[in-house]
Symmetry: C2
Subunit: 237 residues, 2 copies
Amino acid sequence: MYTETAMLGLDVPLRASERAYRQLRGEILNGLLAPGAALLEVEQAERIGVSRTPLREAVARLIADGLVVGRRGRGFEVTDISVDSISELYELRQALEVQASRLAATRRDPAPFLKLRDAFLTAPDLLDQGDIGVHRYYVLIDELEDAVDAAVENPFLVGALHAVRTHLARIRRLARRNPLRLRAAAGEHLLIIDAIIAGDPLLAGHATHIHLHQSLLSVLAAIDAGSATSRSTTTAD
Amino acid sequence: MYTETAMLGLDVPLRASERAYRQLRGEILNGLLAPGAALLEVEQAERIGVSRTPLREAVARLIADGLVVGRRGRGFEVTDISVDSISELYELRQALEVQASRLAATRRDPAPFLKLRDAFLTAPDLLDQGDIGVHRYYVLIDELEDAVDAAVENPFLVGALHAVRTHLARIRRLARRNPLRLRAAAGEHLLIIDAIIAGDPLLAGHATHIHLHQSLLSVLAAIDAGSATSRSTTTAD
DNA sequence: CAACCACTCTTTGTATACAGAGACTCTTCG
DNA sequence: CGAAGAGTCTCTGTATACAAAGAGTGGTTG
């Protein structure tokens, strides 16, 4: 997710519409543009430093992504995230990720998953190392997702997964990390990886099912706690 | 699918970009714009009768839909449909429709499905009535899809399903109808409907799985036959 | 004769100017 | 005092003009 463009530093010549899209998308995802925030074309165009034409193209893409909705006569607005929508998103996510795990188990080249297995075995140590360790753990999860995507070899499925992950990124911001949950999630990931290495699609699917079930429970609990108390909560994965 | 806007004749005030989008989308879906066809902005804008600005917006949406891809310095082009991509699409479709069937079985209001059950019982008769009967059968399938969508009550999942159905519409054009397959499909649909009425998510999911398996087999066989002989084949659903 | 370079031409990408639709406000009337 | 209506004003939707990037072509040179 973070590797979108920054991995290689070749953002030298970039279309204005692309710049506007990435900036707005990033700001929505990291919460700088909060749900419900109004997007005025001229205002945003001036802020980003492009004209209205490319900005409109960027907004159109954001609408297609489901991050923005048009309000009838009064501009656009960042979509909001309800608790209901989280459960709904997870219903879609589960369908997609379970299928992806199954296919990955069927088609995988074992090599990258063996590497990932070793890496995930060190996850508990990583999670003892504070924020940098947590960050490196999240990088590991990204790598796992990438490995699954590559093994699945299905542009339609991978595309749908990407769309889901876009919304997930916003949800993760609603709640803080819970070290206990992260440790448990690492174990669940290991189970998925092992199933993929073993070439066992049924097991991979079920392990993914369980993982997402726990993940959703954790997210919902974190949000409940977050809205009850002020701001000391938990997140999934 | 056909009911998008034409059902009620209120296409009086329509934005130019929306007109361009619907026209291009329709022409791609019904094959008038064949895979590989080049889309030049000025050319298409003049043909449709809008300026380049709304046309670009329309093309952007088509790209998001996966119906069009940009070629670096040489305009845009309608995406093509390979046999591989059909199987890939069905892998995604299966994940989504199985999940949708399960959720529909869990949440359904039985009433519309009881009506659909009666209607599908008459499907064999319908399929004896030639093209108009076949057409009415396809309308039935649309109504079933709509009923499932409504029962699922999940915008994310339904949205993903819509995207898949867009591509399916193109695939259906690749092969002719096979009356035998249609009759069998009607039986499979009945099974799905019964499972939803019974509120049995597991059964609904499995019935959907089987239906899509058969559907894919039929489509692939139809395309094989169609490319072997000249043009007398079969299609699914 | 082939390969490379420069030029032109096509086509996209961007900016800006204009028009129209909808919302808000202020006023007026009941 | 409230509600309705007209006017204004803001913001989107569209068109067009301009700029720049890439591809194709022709010529020239080794």
